[in-house]
Symmetry: C2
Subunit: 475 residues, 2 copies
C-alpha cells in the first residue's frame, strides 16, 4: 500500500479550517472509512475531512480543488458497489458528510422536510413520524444510510412501487460544486420550471459532480389502515398476475409487493433465529403484499381477502395468510429483510441487482435461474425483490461444499450470464445499487456511444479537473 500523503500546505490549511473534530489523520480513525460494506475494496487516504457546516465544506473543497486533490464523498458507507471508498493510490481524500446531520425544517402543511446530507435515513423517517407524517423511503440499510447517500445513488428500496425512488421524493438541493461554489437550490416547490433540472443531475451522480449537502424532501400522510399478506403462489407468472390484480384494484394502496423464492425462504428459516414459515407447507414461490392507506376506513383487509380469494380460485395462489397484528406483520417482513444475511450465512454469494420491464419479471427469474444452474452446476439461485418495479435481486448462492473463493472467482461470469438475459429482456444491469466502482467496466457496452458521450461532456463541464470521486461511474 502506498504511503498516503497530502501537500503540507494543504494539510496545514485544512487543519486550520476544520480543527481536530473536522479532520481525521490517525490510522485508527481513518480505517472505518477505507473499506466498503461488502468488503469488495480497501483503499487508502491521507485524511478524512468531516466538515461541520456547508460553508466549511465549501471552503475545504476550494482548498482541495486548488491543490488538485481528488475527493471521495462518503455518507453512511453502505454502498453495494464500492461507491464511497477511496482507491488504493492514497491520493484521494475522503469527505464524510456525517456531521451535517441536522433536520433544518419540517412542515406538515407543505408536507416537506429539509434535511442535511448526513441525516441517517431512519432519523428522517422518525422526524416525519413525529410531525404526524410519513417519509416513505425504506431500505435494509436505513439505520446507517444517509440522506446525502440515498440521493446521490437514487436509492430505491421496498416502497418504490408506491412512492418512487429517492429521486421522486426530492424537491430541491443544496450542493457544493467541484470548485467549492455553493448552489442554494433548496426549493420546496411542487412546480418550478426555471431552466435545467440540476437537482436531477446531482441525484444518481454518485458524488461525481459535487457534494449534496442538504435536500428538501416530500412527505406524505401517514398510513391509518394497513394489511399485509404472505402467499405461496403457483409460479413466477402467478406472482406477476397477483401483483396486477392488486395494482388494478387499488394501485395507490400497494406499498410493497415482494417476490421470494422457495430457496431464499428456506435459507431464512434455516439460518436466521426466530424466522418460521407462516404457512403450513413449503412452496417454490412466495410473495409478500403490503397495503397501506391514509384512509382509516379503506377496508384494506377486506380488499386483500377478496383479491386473494379470487386469485386462489384462479389457481394463482396456493396458500396465504394475512397478518393478524403489527407484530406478525413485522415477523413476515423479516423473512424478506433477512434474505441478504441468510445468504451470507449459507455461504458465498454473488449479487445481481437488475431490472426489466415489469411484464418480463417471470422470464427474467426463470431464464436466469436456469442459465446460472448450467453455468455453475449445484449453484443455488436466490431471486427476490420488487416485482412491481421490475427489480429482482437475481443473486446466486455457491454450491454446497464448493470453495468460497473459487466460487467468487466466477463473479464476473455470473454477472455476465445474468446481464446477457437482462439485455435480451430490455432491462438494466443496475437497478437500484448504481455503478460505483464495481460496474464501471459495464458502462461502455451498456451506455456507450451518444449517451456516455453526453455524460462525459457534462462531467468535464462541471468537474474539469476530474476531482470528484474519480474511478466511479465512468469506465
Amino acid at each position: 500500500m502506498p504511503d498516503p500523503t497530502l501537500p503540507p500546505a494543504l494539510l496545514h490549511a485544512l487543519t486550520q479550517l476544520l480543527g481536530p473534530r473536522g479532520l481525521l489523520t490517525a490510522a485508527e480513525d481513518i480505517a472505518p472509512h477505507l473499506a466498503d460494506w461488502r468488503n469488495l475494496y480497501r483503499g487508502a487516504t491521507p485524511c478524512v475531512i468531516r466538515p461541520g457546516t456547508t460553508e466549511e465544506l465549501a471552503h475545504a473543497v476550494t482548498l482541495c480543488a486548488e491543490a488538485r486533490v481528488a475527493m471521495v464523498p462518503q455518507g453512511g458507507n453502505t454502498s453495494m458497489v464500492g461507491g464511497a471508498v477511496p482507491d488504493e493510490s492514497g491520493r484521494q481524500v475522503v469527505v464524510s458528510l456525517a456531521r451535517l446531520n441536522r433536520i433544518r425544517a419540517i412542515d406538515p402543511v407543505d408536507m416537506t422536510m429539509t434535511a442535511e446530507a448526513g441525516v441517517v435515513l431512519k432519523a428522517a423517517q422518525n422526524a416525519a413520524a413525529e410531525a404526524g407524517c410519513l417519509f416513505p423511503l425504506s431500505l435494509g440499510a436505513e439505520g446507517s444510510a444517509t440522506i446525502g447517500g440515498v440521493l446521490s445513488t437514487n436509492a430505491g428500496g421496498n416502497t418504490t412501487v408506491r412512492y418512487g425512488n429517492a429521486r421522486e421524493l426530492m424537491l430541491g438541493l443544496e450542493a457544493v460544486l467541484p470548485d467549492g461554489g455553493i448552489w442554494h437550490g433548496l426549493r420546496r416547490l411542487r412546480k418550478d420550471n426555471t431552466g435545467y433540472a440540476l437537482r436531477h443531475l446531482f441525484v444518481g451522480a454518485e458524488g461525481t459532480l459535487g457534494f449534496i449537502t442538504a435536500a428538501s424532501l416530500k412527505m406524505f400522510p401517514r398510513a391509518r389502515d394497513t394489511a399485509l399478506g404472505f402467499c405461496a403462489v403457483a409460479d413466477e407468472d402467478a406472482a406477476l398476475s397477483l401483483f396486477r390484480r392488486f395494482r388494478d384494484r387499488d394501485d395507490s394502496a400497494v406499498r410493497a409487493f415482494e417476490y421470494m423464492s422457495g430457496q431464499g425462504v428456506d435459507f431464512c428459516v434455516r439460518h436466521i433465529e426466530g424466522i418460521a414459515l407462516p404457512l403450513g407447507h413449503r412452496a417454490d414461490h412466495y410473495v409478500l403484499v403490503d397495503l397501506a392507506s391514509s384512509r382509516p376506513d379503506a377496508g384494506l383487509r377486506d380488499m386483500a381477502e377478496a383479491v386473494l380469494t379470487e386469485a386462489m380460485e384462479a389457481g394463482l395462489v396456493l396458500d396465504a395468510v394475512l397478518a393478524e397484528s403489527d407484530a406478525q406483520a413485522a415477523r413476515i417482513w423479516r423473512i424478506r429483510e433477512e434474505h441478504p444475511e441468510a445468504q451470507k450465512r449459507a455461504g458465498a454469494s454473488v449479487k445481481n441487482d437488475v431490472s426489466v420491464p415489469v411484464s418480463r419479471v417471470p422470464d427474467l427469474i426463470r431464464r436466469s435461474s436456469e442459465a446460472l444452474r448450467t453455468l455453475i452446476p449445484g449453484s443455488r439461485p436466490v431471486p427476490f425483490g420488487h416485482i412491481g418495479d421490475g427489480n429482482i435481486h437475481m443473486n446466486l448462492e455457491q454450491p454446497e461444499g464448493m470453495d468460497a473463493a473459487a466460487f467468487l472467482a466466477r463473479s464476473h461470469d455470473i454477472m455476465d450470464c445474468v446481464n446477457a438475459i437482462v439485455r435480451d429482456l430490455d432491462g438494466s444491469f443496475s437497478a437500484e445499487h448504481g455503478i460505483g466502482r464495481l460496474k464501471t467496466d459495464m458502462m461502455e457496452s451498456w451506455r456507450g456511444g451518444v449517451e456516455l458521450g453526453a455524460m462525459r461532456a457534462i462531467k468535464d463541464a462541471l468537474d474539469p479537473h476530474g476531482l470528484m470521486n474519480p474511478g466511479k461511474v465512468f469506465p
Copy 2:
C-alpha cells in the same frame, strides 16, 4: 422584416433529404409556425423542416449543424412564453415534430406507452384509455400540445397534485442531440441507476439541448370511482384548510384541487355560454375538488360528503354541491377550464404563472391581489389554479374602460409586482409555463450565480455552437 435565407447548399441538401412533405418554404405554409399562441412574438424563418422519422431528423440536424444554422423545435406551438417560435432574424430554422406522431407501443402489464414527440396529448390519453389504462397528464391545450412539447417544457396541469408533472410520467427518452447524434434511451424501467439522469436534463430544457423524438411514459389504472365537488369557501385560508382535510383523509384520491376567485367565476358566468353558478349564492372564493380511485368500492362520494360536512361545521365551507352525473361534473370543470377564455373576453389581461410552498398560497393570493390593485387602480385580480401544487395563476384583468394597450404596456410592472411577493414567499417566477423567450430576463436575478453558471456549462458542453433554440431560457 429581414429576408429569410438559407445557404443554397443546405437548402438543396434538405430538399433532397426531406422531399416536399418534409420541407415547407412557401410563405403561406410557414406562417402558422411563426407566431406563438398568445401572439406575443412573430418571428421569421427560411423554412420549416418536418421530418417523418427520427433518422430523417438526425440527418437534417447534422446538415444544419455543419452549416451552423440554428434550429427551433416546435410541437403543438401552445407555449405560453414564446418558447417554440423563431426570432425575427430569419436565420433560425423551425423544426416541427408533427409528423413523428406514432404510438410505437402500449403495454397494460408494464403500464407503459412509447409515443413519438408529435403525438398530441389528447391522442396519448385516448390510446391509454383504449388499452384500459389512464395517461393522467391533462391541461387546457391537450388537444394541440404534443408529447415532445409537454416533456420539453415539463408541463404540469390539473392532475399534478396526484400524478406529478410531465417529468414524473416519463421513464425514458429518444433524442437527437445538437450534432445529429441519436440517443436511444427509450427504456421503460422503473429502476435504472446507470449514470447521469440525462432524461431529466432534456425534460424542461425547452429544446435548448436537442430534440426529444419519443418517450416511454407511465400509465396508471383507470378510475372506477369518482366524486366531484364545487364549494364556496370562507376565504383563502379556508381553501387551503379544505385541501389539507381531503389530502389527509386520502391523498391518493385527490386527483385535482383547484382554487377560483369570485371574480374569475363571475367572468365565466358572464362571458361564456352555458356556464351557470352551481350554487345558490355568489361567493368570493371557490374550490373544485375532484376525487378518483381505481377501486370501484372506494366510496368517494360518501367520503366527500363527510369531509365537506365537517368543513361546513368548522365554518370553512359556506356551500357545496357534489356532481350528480358525469355531465354535471363536466359542466363544473368547464368553469375552471374557461377561465382563460373568459378573461380574454373581459378585456386585456396579464398572466403570472407562479408557485410558492403550499402553506403560503393564501398569503400569495391576498398579498398579490392587494398589491396589484394598488399598482393599477381598478384592475381586477383573477387568481386561480392548483392549490395542492402551490401553483396559482395570479392573473390580472385590466380596469373596465382602460385602454388595452395602455394596460398591456404595464405587463412587466405587473409581473415584477407579483414576483417580488413570490420571492418573499420562497416561490418561483415560473411554475409550469417555463421560461421560453418571455422570462429570460428574469433568469439572472432568480437563478444567477452558481446555478445559472452550471446550466451554461452544460449548455456549452452539449451544444457548443449554440444552435438549439437560441434566445430561449438563457438571458
